[in-house]
């Protein structure tokens, strides 16, 4: 998907929702931001560092959509592995692992192999790995995708707690009700172009509709009139 002239500004400490229909360019944007693919033109910077430089990813955490972590490892071993990549000293890594496993409510399953985890538990261990380096910016790609209502609620609660801790969260989602609840500001893209960006409350007031109606209106969807 081609993304054209996308310019987003995300403020420190806010939860920013990145919305768009399938194929709109959300994942492409994230892939460019994370250095997975190179932009054909232009450049992307994280904290002033070109995203093509690995060091640009030192201060971010990323949760991809539907990832199946190394099933032969336990949650504790997985987090230790990622901590080692960041060069976190052992004592500090132990402290953070304890703290994160409590945050994502996996403390009791920390010694279980990940292959025995449910989808919701896998997603929560994914959130924990994204937080292992105590990132300033958290990028979440559809964090509640494929989860049951309880799993979704738990992930939403974690995002809310991270927001309260002052973390900046950038996340894409199709769950518009959830976005409305959690996000401070949103951007909606369609066919690679930014259509709207603003505070959720202001958009709702301006369009006299909820976020779902605004979204459908912006992407040009008009329901068939009832016969």
């Amino acid at each position: 998907m081609v993304v054209k002239d996308l310019n987003l500004s995300i403020r420190a400490g806010e939860v920013f929702g990145f919305l768009g229909p399938n194929g709109a360019g959300k994942t492409t944007t994230m892939n460019v931001l994370l250095g997975f693919v190179n932009a054909t033109s232009g450049a992307a910077f994280l904290f002033g560092v070109d995203v093509r430089e690995p060091i640009a990813r030192q201060r971010i955490g990323y949760l991809p959509e539907l990832t199946y972590y190394y099933k032969f490892l336990t949650a504790e071993e997985l987090l230790r592995f990622y901590a080692r990549i960041f060069g976190i000293p052992r004592a500090e890594a132990n402290r953070r692992i304890d703290q994160l496993l409590k945050l994502v409510e996996l403390d009791s399953a920390r010694k279980c192999p990940i292959k025995n985890y449910s989808k919701g538990m896998q997603q929560r261990v994914g959130l924990a790995q994204a937080l292992i380096n105590n990132p300033e910016l958290l990028i979440l790609d559809e964090p509640t995708s494929g989860l049951d209502p309880l799993g979704r609620m738990k992930v939403r609660e974690i995002i809310q707690r991270l927001k309260n801790e002052g973390k900046t969260v950038f996340f894409s989602s199709h769950e518009l009700g959830e976005v409305e609840t959690v996000c401070d500001r949103v951007a909606i893209i369609n066919q690679g172009e930014l259509k709207v960006e603003g505070r959720v409350a202001e958009l709702v007031e301006q369009h006299h509709a909820n976020l779902e109606k605004i979204f459908l209106n912006i992407i040009g969807y008009s329901p068939e009139p009832a016969a």
Binding site: Q58, Y62, L63, T67, Y68, F72, Y82, I85
Partner: protein
Amino acid sequence: MNTVFALAGVVVKELYRRKDFYVLFVLTAVITLVMGSVSFFNDAKIVRYVKEIALLLIWVSALVIAIGTTARQIPAERESRTIFPLLAKPVTRAQVILGKFAGCWLACGLALIVFYLFFGLVSASREHDWPLLNYVQALWLQWMMLGIVIAFVLLGSVVFAAPSSNATIAFVVVIGILLLGSHLNQVALQQPEPLRTIVYALYFLIPHLEWYDVRDFVIYEQHLPGWTDCGLATLYAAVYAALLLWATWLVFRRKPLSV
């Protein structure tokens, strides 16, 4: 290097938590012990046959472990999407390749130590002899050879879509080199041009894995190659492995991460 070692650690953990290694070791042990317990024609030198069978099984098992483990590394990262959280950290694709290589190579080294310990025990129980240096040298050379094989399979894992096709091709190539590699120059002499040049080029191009096979020296207790030759063989393996890893990086750095 910290990242490379962290990645390698995960691969080593994978090896000892999967059943592959244990199955191969038990098979090798059972076949060797059964063969060792049988007496053919009251031949006093039967122990040589036992050693030959044990070493052949060790070579086959080591190749199965090396090729099987390496072939699935990068495809599994892409299929389970763990490559995304990994590369979203300050990790380069070159480090991923080096980490996977180091992990598979170390895992094979550990497996070889277990196999050779068993081999040494079986030999010692029959011959009451413990030529430790011979075993160390044989193990070292085999490990170096596996370094080339692992780098080759790693390259295959970023070229071929399925790990099974990569593993099959790798087995055919490795077995082909081990059986025919040293005869290619003689084959070339019997060919008309331009086939002669092509076969000759192939002879000089392929890594000569058969040079690392010193099983006959161990079985017949002949003098193994000198340590200088061992050093040169190590250097030869390092150059080939480095070239193959560089080629892997060239392909992998442009490769889309999604399957």
